[in-house]
Structures are given as structure tokens and as C-alpha cells.
């Protein structure tokens, strides 16, 4: 009999680092916040609910930082290699011998890194929201949902079992659904949250089937065992997974591609990205947390988590790489045309995640080849900082202007100094201008691409140029361009609560690049020898600066150059402005095909054919009984005739026929 209350704490940690319960507290505290505020928030602690949520998260952030310190500097490394440690694990649901969902916590470089990122960004957003969401009617609900999200995200990154990851994967999806739909009385928000959920759900279908295939061949759901079995060429599981194939593609590749589809859905990779821009309907801090820093990189994390297995299947890796680069370029182009500042940021997010993806795609396993992996994780880390910063900054602007539209804005630098500076830092960081964080991570990515695949490298280069361009287009349109029109009284930059995160994140965005990331996170846990070539980074920086100056030339002052250029490449511009009509395509498929060609006929068939048969039987019986009533004519003589007929009939039947 399994017992819920007894959770085995595996004693793999050195004395003094017996982290079992404290590790479990990291996700459980936000969950507690969710339950507390969700059940009682509305009635009892309406106004203090923000404080409660934030404090709880503060504790778990502290715990995760403590854990990170412990892992990276004290016990994580055993003779030069970072170990995969599973301090906590218990069987949650046993399917069949060996195959079971185990709820556990895994400590390895990426999970610990994600632990820090998630809890830190989430904390920032919590604090920020204290100011930003003040006076909202559903304030407690908001913090409850934030807690739920943080819980599921932390659980996701610490998962030790692929099904456990799927478990939290879905929870993350639903909490994102709830937060996008936070302003539930706006039809646009409702549409957006449904869209986000259904699209990711559709992608998760791939993930699920992928899991089924992996579990079938590996005979386990536990990450370590699974990776072990599917990476050692000698293992029988690996052999069967490689040899058995469908449509000429090996089962392993199928599984990985399907899993990747799931990841692509969450990470808004082309062509499953359509939900991300709409997701901006949610409150801006939420966009910062979920749709910029943490949840959307879950796909990257998933690939990284299974990376050793991916590295056994080059085709799968190529798909990852090309999906990544295409999304990056595609999104960057669209971003240049959007006028809703949050949508611009959304597309830039998509583009940056594209960078991370193809970085993984071009990476190899271990040593020098592992550069892409490290780079991708590094970029994930830095991107979390500056993209969160950008969104929070945008939030401050929106808070000030009460609009998302660029044309409402301009010349805000004197009204919002802090926001202005931090926003500028973030822009520089994302454009890869040294010495800001983005520079270092992007360099590594480009380097990895350069070594692996020239085509991808050049596309990436163009993309980074575009990145610089649209970011500074955004920057100048908001803070320069024209003198601000500020109608009526305005409440400065929002309170202290909103400033603190901006500053902290600005520091992060500026300085995070100097972390020797490779020492900590690498594909095989070993420390790779440093791979930093200054001469290589000239081209990227140059193209970045070109982008920046182009933006300045077009947007620093009010002028019609931009409009003129837009007109000159009219068709392409319109297409880009309409996001290349992908949404319309999806709409066509769902509405026309799914509903009209499948749903409606099914309903009709059920109503008329299947049910019709049932009704028909009843009616036929009635009709027959009506038809045969003449049999009972009321004439006693006819009765007698039937009588005799019966007698004779029986006699004949049994004497002559039925011997």
C-alpha cells in the first residue's frame, strides 16, 4: 500500500545539505498561496493578499537561491562533473512494472538554473504587480493565479519524470489560460485565452503521443533511466527504438519530433506561434512573467532536458534547428511592422526563443560541440532578464498612457526617467551591444551556428540586425519621436513597488553577461574550455549597430521616411503587418473544416440516422399494430373460420411438413 504522507528523502546529499523538505517547499509555498488566496482571498484578506503572495514567494526564492548556491558551489560537482541528483522521489501512479509516474525533484545544472530564473522573475513580477494591479477588483484572484503558475512552473523545471513534466506542463498551460483570461469580461481576452489553451493543447497532443512512444521503447518514464537507455548504443531499448521505423523514419525520431511539437507549441514556434501575440490580452506583468521569461521557454527547456536523446537523432535536431531559425526570422520581420508595443515585444520574444531553439538544434553532445547547448541556456537566462524588464517597462508606459498603441506615445523620457533608462538598457542588451547581457549569449549562439551550419548563421545574423532595428524603433517611438501629449493629471511612474523590479532587472540585464555561464551549465556537466573569440563578434555587433542607427534615422524625430519605405515595399509590408495571414489560415481550418465538415455532420448523423433508427422501430411497431387490427373483425363467424384455419394449418404443418 502506498502512503501519501511518507515521502522517501533519498540520501544522496552530503550532510548539512539534506534538502528534501526545503526543496519541496520551493514549489509548495506558491501552491499554498494559491489555495489560501483562492479559497479565502476574496472574503478575508482582500487587500493584504498581494503581500501574502509576495512573502511566500520571497521565501521560496530564497530557498532556490540557497539551493543553487549549494548545488553549484558545494555538493553539485563530483570530480569535475555536475551530477544529476534526485533528492526526493515517490511513486505517484504505477501503470505497470517499471512504468510509473514518479513525483520527484531532480537537481542538475539546467533545472537549478531554471529554478533561479523562475523564482526570481516571478518574485519581481509579484512585487511589480503590487503597484501595477493595485485597486483591481479581483486582486486576490490575480495573486492566486500567479501562485498557481509559479507552483506549476517550478514543478515543471524540477520534474524528474517525463510524465511528471507533462503533468506540470498542462498546469502551466491552464494557469496561463486563467491569467490571459483575467479580464474575463473582454471578449478579446476570452478569445485569446481560449486560443492560447487550444493551440498549446493541440501541440501537447504530440507531446503525449511522444511520451507514449518513448515509454514503450524505453520501458520507463523516469528521465535518468530513459536517457540512459536511449543513449547507450548497446542497450536493447535503444536498438529497438532505432530499428523499428514508420514511413522510413525511426521510432526514436518520431518520438522526439512529437515531443518537440509539444515544446514548439508552448514556446510559440512557427507555425504554432499564433496564440502568443493574442496572449498579450493578459495583464502586462503576466505577459512579462509567463509569455516572455518563463513559460514560453518551457519548450526550450524540454528539448534541453531530453537533449542527450535528441543528440542521438540528427534528423530531429535538424528539425529543431530549422524551426528555430525560421521562427526567429519570421517573427523579427513581423515585429518591425506592429504598432501595439506589447505585440512587438511578443514577436521579439518569439524571435529570441527561436534563437535558443536553433542553438540547441545546432549543438552537439559534450565538449566543444556542446557549445550550442550552453549558449542556448545562457541566452534563456539573459533573455529572461531583459525581456521581463522590457515588458515591465512597457507595463509602466501603458500604466501611464492607458494604451498599447505606439501612436498614442512619444517623448515620454522626461515623464518616466527610470523606466526610460532601464528600457534603454534592455534594448541594448537584446540588440547584443557589448557589454550588456544579450551580447555574450547571442555571440555564443552565433558562434555555435557558424561552426555547424553557415546558412543558419547568416539568417541568424540578419535576424539580430532586425532585432536591433525593431527594438529601437519601439524605444524611439515611445520615448522620443515627438513631444508627449499627457492629458490631465498623471500619476508619475507608479509607486516604489514598480520601480524596484525595474532597477533590479536592469542590473541583471546589464551584468548577467559576465557570469561564466559555461562553467556551470553544459551539455555533459563538464566544464568546457573557454571559447570566446573577439574577432568573431565584429559582424554581429556591427549589424546590430546598423539596425540601431536605421531605427534612429527613421523614428528619433517625427518624419514620414518610415511611411515612405513602408509604401515602397507595399505588398510585403502589408503581409508582414497582417502576420502573413497565418491566423486566417487557422481560422479557416478550424471553423470551416473542423466544425462544418466534421462536427455538423456528426451531430446531424446522430440526430437523424442513429436516433432515427430507434424512433423508426417504435413507429413501425405502431403502424403494424394498426394494420393488423382488421384481424379482429367482430364477426363471430370469422372468428370460427380463423379457428378452423388454425386447426387445419397446424394439422397440415405437423402431419406433412414438420415430420
Amino acid at each position: 500500500m502506498n502512503d501519501f504522507l511518507h515521502i522517501p528523502i533519498l540520501q544522496v546529499l552530503p550532510p548539512g545539505w539534506d534538502l528534501g523538505w526545503s526543496l519541496m517547499l520551493i514549489p509548495l509555498l506558491p501552491l499554498a498561496g494559491f489555495l489560501l488566496l483562492g479559497l479565502f482571498g476574496r472574503k478575508y484578506v482582500k487587500n493584504s493578499s498581494g503581500i501574502i503572495g509576495t512573502t511566500l514567494l520571497l521565501v521560496s526564492t530564497a530557498l532556490s537561491l540557497y539551493t543553487a548556491y549549494g548545488y553549484f558551489f558545494e555538493f553539485g560537482k563530483v570530480d569535475g562533473v555536475y551530477q544529476k541528483i534526485i533528492p526526493v522521489q515517490f511513486t505517484w501512479l504505477q501503470f505497470s512494472p517499471g512504468v510509473s509516474i514518479d513525483m520527484g525533484i531532480i537537481l542538475d545544472p539546467i533545472s537549478v538554473m531554471m529554478l533561479v530564473v523562475v523564482s526570481f522573475i516571478s518574485l519581481m513580477v509579484h512585487i511589480y504587480s503590487l503597484g501595477y494591479m493595485k485597486g483591481e477588483e479581483r486582486f486576490p484572484t490575480y495573486y492566486a493565479f500567479l501562485g498557481l503558475f509559479t507552483f506549476s512552473m517550478l514543478g515543471l523545471v524540477m520534474s524528474s519524470n517525463i510524465f511528471q513534466l507533462y503533468f506540470f506542463w498542462e498546469l502551466v498551460g491552464v494557469s496561463s489560460f486563467l491569467l490571459i483570461g483575467y479580464y474575463y469580461d473582454r471578449p478579446s481576452a476570452v478569445a485569446a485565452c481560449k486560443k492560447a489553451f487550444i493551440v498549446t493543447r493541440f501541440a501537447d497532443l504530440g507531446f503525449l503521443i511522444g511520451i507514449l512512444i518513448l515509454s514503450f521503447y524505453a520501458g520507463t518514464l523516469d528521465f535518468n533511466t530513459l536517457i540512459e537507455r536511449l543513449t547507450s548504443a548497446s542497450a536493447p531499448e535503444f536498438q529497438s527504438a532505432i530499428t523499428s521505423s514508420f514511413l522510413g523514419v525511426s521510432a526514436l525520431t518520431w518520438a522526439l519530433v512529437l515531443v518537440f511539437i509539444g515544446g514548439a507549441g508552448k514556446s510559440a514556434m512557427f507555425p504554432l506561434h499564433i496564440w502568443l501575440p493574442d496572449a498579450m490580452e493578459g495583464p502586462t506583468p503576466v505577459s512579462a512573467l509567463i509569455h516572455a521569461a518563463t513559460m514560453v521557454v518551457a519548450g526550450v527547456f524540454l528539448v534541453a532536458r531530453l537533449f542527450p536523446v535528441f543528440s542521438m537523432s540528427p534528423p530531429a535536431l535538424d528539425i529543431v534547428a530549422y524551426t528555430g531559425i525560421i521562427s526567429a526570422l519570421f517573427a523579427a520581420v513581423i515585429a518591425c511592422t506592429q504598432t501595439d508595443i506589447k505585440r512587438v515585444l511578443a514577436y521579439s520574444t518569439m524571435s529570441q526563443i527561436g534563437f535558443m531553439m536553433f542553438a540547441l538544434g545546432v549543438s552537439g553532445q559534450g565538449g566543444e560541440n556542446g557549445l550550442g547547448f550552453t549558449a542556448s541556456m545562457f541566452h534563456l537566462f539573459t533573455h529572461a532578464m531583459f525581456k521581463a524588464l522590457l515588458f515591465l517597462g512597457a507595463g509602466a508606459v501603458i500604466h501611464f498612457i492607458h494604451s498599447n498603441e505606439m501612436k498614442e506615445m512619444g517623448g515620454l523620457r522626461k515623464y518616466l526617467p527610470v523606466t526610460h533608462i532601464s528600457f534603454l538598457i534592455a534594448c541594448l542588451a537584446i540588440s547584443g551591444v557589448p557589454p550588456f547581457a544579450g551580447f555574450f549569449s547571442k555571440e555564443e549562439i552565433l558562434l555555435a551556428a557558424y561552426h555547424h551550419n553557415a546558412g543558419i548563421y547568416w539568417m541568424a545574423l540578419v535576424t539580430s540586425g532586425l532585432t536591433a532595428f525593431y527594438m529601437f524603433r519601439l524605444y524611439f517611438r515611445i520615448f522620443w519621436n515627438r513631444s508627449a501629449i499627457v492629458h490631465g493629471e498623471h500619476h508619475g511612474e507608479g509607486g516604489f513597488a514598480m520601480m524596484v523590479p525595474l532597477v533590479l532587472l536592469a542590473v541583471g540585464a546589464a551584468a548577467a553577461g559576465f557570469i561564466p555561464f559555461g562553467n556551470f551549465v553544459s551539455s555533459d556537466g563538464k566544464r568546457p574550455e573557454s571559447v570566446f573569440h573577439l574577432e568573431f563578434s565584429i559582424a554581429p555587433v556591427a549589424i546590430g549597430l546598423v539596425g540601431i542607427f536605421a531605427a534612429m534615422w527613421l523614428y528619433k524625430k517625427q518624419n514620414d521616411r518610415a511611411a515612405a519605405i513602408a509604401k515602397s515595399l507595399n505588398g510585403f509590408y502589408k503581409a508582414a503587418y497582417h502576420k502573413f495571414y497565418v491566423d486566417e489560415l487557422y481560422l479557416f481550418i478550424t471553423k470551416k473544416i473542423l466544425f462544418n465538415l466534421i462536427g455538423r455532420p456528426a451531430a446531424w448523423f446522430d440526430k437523424n440516422v442513429v436516433d432515427g433508427l430507434v424512433i423508426g422501430t417504435g413507429n413501425t411497431t405502431q403502424v403494424i399494430s394498426e394494420k393488423i387490427k382488421g384481424f379482429q373483425s367482430g364477426k363471430v363467424q370469422q372468428y370460427a373460420i380463423y379457428f378452423l384455419a388454425g386447426v387445419i394449418g397446424l394439422a397440415v404443418l405437423f402431419i406433412y411438413v414438420w415430420k
Binding site: L93, S96, R201, F216, G599, A603
Partner: protein
């Protein structure tokens, strides 16, 4: 513990209800009675766990048996294994909730509660009986109360629906009857006793005739495609508690029968027809889901989605692996709780808005936060959100189905997976149009749930979450029993 208590208690309650003077007394009697059932079910659960923990490995626990009609080898034989215990728990949950939500039934209150309790009596007896005759007896006891519940307290085109339901279910049970008699006379030893029959091996040609009879017969109860058409009409015109019992309990009678009677005593027949079952159930899953997408009436939505979800039950049974069968039972419990809750919520909304058309509602979240929150929870459960029961059950079934390496089963499984997406589509559509969006003026000042409704919802949600968060207790309960059935099928 003595299993007859679970039959005597409802009986006593029913009699007391008939003796009561006024509606108030009736309600409280019913509530107390059903609460006692609830308690009793938990007593049973813990007694069962203790026995097992104490190393009692007997297949059936708490057996009791006395000859009822010795001339026909009919004995009143009760006993429970993990599956039965799970189903009994489910029944207890649904009964209490059903009694609570129908608190403000004013028309013929006494008769209403009498019939409800009678229904629960039938369900308990069915899940405990180890003799095919009394199994059939209890199965049919549960039919007529439904007819009356729908016909008297129902809404819409109730007479037609009630008739259709009663006749189709009776049709099902008459097939069951023929199948039972076939088994009785076909088996080497004339007996209705389930345990004995499971020991004897029934000749294959008999199984080939009787298995389909029994399976289809029970299948009608659990909405086996294409015998599911009573489901939408019946559910939509039944009173709230009626729908809850119908979908929550009586559809499970069928699934239980398919598993315990058809599959268990006739494994060869099961193997013979497994592929057909899989095809039908896969059709039901997808087809039900797509049909749901088109519905506008909340009750129809839930009814068709029940067709789809019960398809999972039959799929799990048809897959004939231990995991899948465990999943099927879990799905029965999960779907029972979930759909009962769903109907309860629909009832609450209907009482306030007086419409069930989703496109006539909107923004109810503003005025009735509790009810809509429950609606969210049940919706998410129905689309298989982790942490709620639906996820556990469906994943178990899928994992079990995937254990077959051949393409036929693979395709069926993938098709079943797809339904999860479609489910998301229609559930979100329903929730979005009902709870979210701008609120209509006429709904602007509706009241939220009352104590009884809250209590009912909380009870059912507790069940759902208990399974969703800690599925292993249910798994430990069910999978040994499922293993026994599978061993029989595997011929061990």
C-alpha cells in the same frame, strides 16, 4: 463488515421517507439516510484496506451467501473486490450530492426522494452482487425509477425521453437476460454464481454467442455506440438529480457489467470480439466529442461528452490489458463524479437563468463566482487537466492501450488521444460563453449558490481532487482486481 447493511440502509430510508408527514421531514430523512450511506461506504473502504493490509488475499472480501431459489441454483451472494468498492464509493458520493442539489424540489417531494433512494439501492446491490440473477434483479430495479424521475419531474419533451430511455435500457437488459440464460445452461454446471462460473470454463461456442449478448446488453447502459441515443434525450430532460444519477451511476452499471460479467466469465468471447469493441468505442469517443462541439444546450453538451468519455471506459475494457482495465474503472469513477458535478452545476445555473442555451448566457462569473468556479473545475476535469481525476483515468487507459505494439491498437489509441483536443475545444467554448464575456443585464443580479448546493459541489470536487492529486490509493484498490480479471483472460 456486513454488506447487507448497504442494502438495508437505503431500504430503511426509503420506507421512512414514505412514512414522513411533510416535505421538510422527507428531505432531512433522505439527507441523513444518504449521509449514513456515505459514511458506510467509507467504513467499507477502510475495512477493505485493512483486510488487504492484513494480508487477506481472497479475491472477494466480506462475502455472504444464502440460497434464495435453490431449485434454480440462485443464491443471494454478495461480496466486494477493489472495483466494487470503488464503484460503491462513487455511488455514495453521487447520492449525497444528488439529495442535496434537489433540496428545493416542491412537486411530490416524497415520491421524488423515495425514487432517488430506490435507485441508489439498486446501484449498491448491483455493485455488490456476485450472483448473476440478483445482479440482473438490481440492474432492473434501477430502470423504472429513472423513468418516473424523468417523466414526472423532468423538463422539455420528457415523456418521449423517458419512454425512449426506459425502453432502450429494458432492451439492453433483455439482451443481458438472454445472455445470462445462455451462460446458465451453456456452462458445464447450472449456476448463476459468478465466482463458480469464473472457475468453470464455459465452452467457446457458448461464449461466442453469449458474450456479445451480454456486452451489448450492458453496453446500452453505458452508451455503447450506436446504442447511445437515449443518453442525450434522457439526460437533457431529466431533473438535475436524475441526470446526476443517470450519468453518474447508471451508466456505470453498464461498464461494470461489461467488465465483471461479460469479460470476466467469458474471456474467450472477449478476445474474440475485442477488436469490434475497440472500433466501436473509438468511434464513440471521437464521434461523441465532435457531436458535442455542435451542441448549444449545456445538458446536451455534457450528455454527448459523456458518450465520448464512456467510450474511454469501453476502450479500456476492449484493450484487455491490466493497465487499461484499471484505467477503465478509474474512468468510470472519475466520470461519475465529474459528470454528476457537471449536471449539478448546470442545474444550479438553470434554476437562476432559466435557460440552458450557452449563447443566451455570458459573464456569469461576475454574479455567481462560486458556481462558475465549479463550472471551471468540472470543465477542466473533463478535458483532462492534471490534478483532477479525468487526467489520471484517461492517461492510465492510454498507457494501457499503448502496450499493444500493433498498428490497429496504435491507431485506436492515437484517435482516442485526439479526442482530448476536441474536448478542450467544446469545453472552453461552453465555459467561455457561459461564464466569461460581458454579462447580460437580466442576469446582473442573480444570487450565488446556497448552502446545500455548495455542500454538494464541495463533496464531489473533493472526490475529484482526491483522485486527481493522489491517484495511487484508487490504483492500489483497483489494479489487483483488474489483474485477476486479466489473468483469467490471459488464461492463467
Amino acid at each position: 463488515m456486513n454488506l447487507t447493511l448497504l442494502i438495508l440502509l437505503p431500504l430503511l430510508t426509503a420506507v421512512l421517507i414514505l412514512l414522513m408527514r411533510n416535505a421538510q421531514q422527507v428531505k432531512w430523512t433522505a439527507l441523513i439516510g444518504s449521509t449514513l450511506q456515505f459514511a458506510l461506504a467509507f467504513v467499507l473502504l477502510f475495512a477493505f484496506r485493512n483486510e488487504r493490509a492484513g494480508g487477506n488475499e481472497a479475491q472477494m472480501l466480506f462475502e455472504l451467501q444464502y440460497n434464495w431459489f435453490p431449485a434454480l441454483h440462485i443464491s443471494f451472494h454478495l461480496g466486494v473486490d477493489g472495483i466494487s468498492v470503488a464503484m460503491i464509493l462513487l455511488t455514495a458520493f453521487v447520492v449525497v450530492a444528488g439529495v442535496l442539489v434537489s433540496w428545493n424540489v416542491t412537486k411530490m417531494t416524497k415520491e421524488f426522494y423515495f425514487l432517488l433512494i430506490l435507485l441508489s439501492l439498486g446501484a449498491y446491490g448491483f455493485f455488490m452482487s456476485l450472483d448473476l440473477f440478483i445482479l440482473f434483479f438490481f440492474l432492473e430495479i434501477a430502470v423504472i425509477p429513472k423513468y418516473l424521475l424523468i417523466g414526472i419531474w423532468g423538463s422539455g419533451n420528457k415523456e418521449k425521453a423517458a419512454n425512449k430511455l426506459a425502453l432502450m435500457l429494458m432492451g439492453g437488459s433483455s439482451l443481458v437476460l438472454v445472455g445470462l440464460l445462455g451462460v446458465y445452461f451453456g456452462s458445464p454446471e447450472k449456476t448463476f454464481d459468478l465466482m463458480t462460473l469464473s472457475q468453470l470454463n464455459i465452452p467457446v461456442e457458448v461464449q461466442k454467442i453469449c458474450f456479445p449478448l451480454l456486452f451489448v446488453g450492458f453496453g446500452v447502459f453505458t452508451a455503447l455506440f450506436p446504442f447511445h441515443t437515449w443518453v442525450p434525450d434522457g439526460h437533457s430532460s431529466a431533473p438535475t438529480a436524475g441526470s446526476m444519477f443517470l450519468a453518474g451511476i447508471s451508466m456505470k452499471l453498464g461498464g461494470y457489467g461489461c467488465l465483471r460479467v461479460a469479460t470476466y466469465i467469458m474471456p474467450d468471447g472477449a478476445k474474440e470480439y475485442a477488436d469490434i469493441i475497440i472500433v466501436l468505442s473509438t468511434i464513440a469517443i471521437l464521434y461523441g466529442a465532435f457531436a458535442t462541439m455542435m451542441q448549444k444546450d449545456l445538458k446536451y453538451i455534457n450528455a454527448y461528452s459523456s458518450v465520448s468519455h464512456c467510450g474511454f471506459v469501453l476502450l479500456g475494457i476492449g484493450m484487455l490489458t491490466k493497465t487499461a482495465i484499471t484505467g477503465a474503472v478509474m474512468q468510470m469513477v472519475s466520470h461519475g463524479l465529474m459528470t454528476a458535478l457537471f449536471f449539478a452545476v448546470i442545474g444550479m445555473i438553470y434554476e437562476r437563468t432559466h435557460t440552458r442555451q450557452v449563447n443566451e448566457m455570458g459573464g456569469l462569473l461576475k454574479v455567481m463566482p462560486f458556481i462558475t468556479t465549479v463550472l471551471f473545475i468540472v470543465g477542466l476535469c473533463s478535458l483532462g487537466l492534471p490534478g483532477l481525476s479525468g487526467f489520471v483515468a484517461e492517461m492510465t487507459i492510454l498507457m494501457g492501450s499503448w502496450q499493444h505494439p500493433d498498428w490497429f491498437h496504435r491507431i485506436a489509441t492515437i484517435a482516442a488521444c485526439m479526442s482530448i483536443v476536441v474536448t478542450a475545444v467544446y469545453i472552453l467554448r461552453a465555459i467561455g460563453q457561459t461564464a466569461m464575456g460581458p454579462i447580460k443585464a437580466e442576469y446582473a443580479n442573480l444570487a450565488d449558490a446556497k448552502w446545500n448546493e455548495k455542500l454538494a459541489a464541495v463533496i464531489l470536487i473533493a472526490g475529484i481532487i482526491a483522485i486527481g492529486v493522489a491517484p495511487f490509493w484508487l490504483n492500489d484498490l483497483v489494479s489487483p482486481a483488474a489483474e485477476i480479471i486479466m489473468n483469467k483472460v490471459a488464461g492463467k
